[in-house]
């Protein structure tokens, strides 16, 4: 299957087209897919950012203040604003696609995918509220 024989009457010469390195630019949905996959980079960045914060907190109040000042620097701030867009994009695409993998039955009937997605969004609201409450409140 991999070798290319010469053309003869009984062994036709097949054309195999090679996929371009820029295949993902050829279609809107491919580009959206790649952007969705690249959102994971921003997820990893924010893990690093969180760990830097934890490190500074462990080093004392002065270090924490230093971190706050650093986080307000234009470069860091723009990176985090961009990260917010990508992480929200990740969350939305994730919750919309989750019903495909999670098929839930109640008795013999299948729970509609829309309900599964809705409960994911509901969990998102609750989790966010908890974060805001504990971090900003009290």
């Amino acid at each position: 299957m991999t070798e290319l024989p010469l053309y003869t009457e009984h062994h036709p010469r097949w054309i195999r087209r090679r996929v371009s390195t820029y295949w993902w630019l050829g279609r809107g949905s491919y580009l959206v897919f790649i952007l969705r996959e690249l959102s994971s980079i921003f997820v990893a960045w924010f893990v690093l950012y969180l760990l830097l914060l934890v490190r500074r907190i462990g080093q004392g109040e002065g270090a924490y203040e230093y971190f706050l000042a650093w986080s307000a620097r234009p470069l860091v701030l723009s990176l985090n604003v961009l990260s917010l867009f990508f992480v929200v994009f990740h969350a939305v695409t994730w919750f919309n696609l989750a019903p495909k993998a999670m098929v839930v039955h109640v008795g013999h009937t299948r729970v509609p995918g829309v309900l599964i997605a809705a409960s994911n969004y509901g969990a998102w609201v609750v989790a966010s509220a908890i974060v805001f409450w504990f971090v900003l409140g009290g």
């Binding site: 996959e37 934890v54 990740h90």
Partner: protein, 121 residues
């Protein structure tokens, strides 16, 4: 078609499960964290949480556990997704082992760093 080299890949389900768990956790919790620590506080929209409050919060064993889980699973989520993006997007399959080593290795290193930082608080 499966070849003998691919029959030795029973690790894939575990990697996928970690990728999924990381995807769920990061989707649920990261946006609000970024809003607070990445955008709202630096922009001055909300006052920064007082140091003592954050220290107490982060020292709580459940919060430490939660943060570790978030960091470790989010890193494995990145590792798995990024590995496939490099594999498919750049078509550099011949560097397969290198990519996997860097991605999952990076996730392991990051998780260890998270554990260390969270434990020594």
């Amino acid at each position: 078609m499966p070849t003998s080299s691919t029959l030795k890949r029973p690790i894939e389900p575990l990697l996928w499960l970690m990728f999924s768990a990381g995807g769920v956790l990061s989707a649920l919790v990261m946006p609000s964290l970024i809003v607070v620590f990445g955008v709202a506080v630096p922009f001055g929209w909300v006052p920064a949480p007082p140091y003592d409050h954050l220290l107490g919060l982060v020292r709580h064993p459940l919060v430490r556990l939660g943060l570790f889980g978030l960091c470790m699973l989010s890193l494995f989520h990145w590792a798995h997704r990024f590995r496939y993006t490099l594999y498919d997007g750049l078509q550099i399959k011949h560097l397969n082992e290198v990519i996997e080593g860097l991605c999952y290795g990076g996730a392991v290193v990051g998780s260890l760093a998270a554990a260390y930082l969270l434990l020594q608080l």
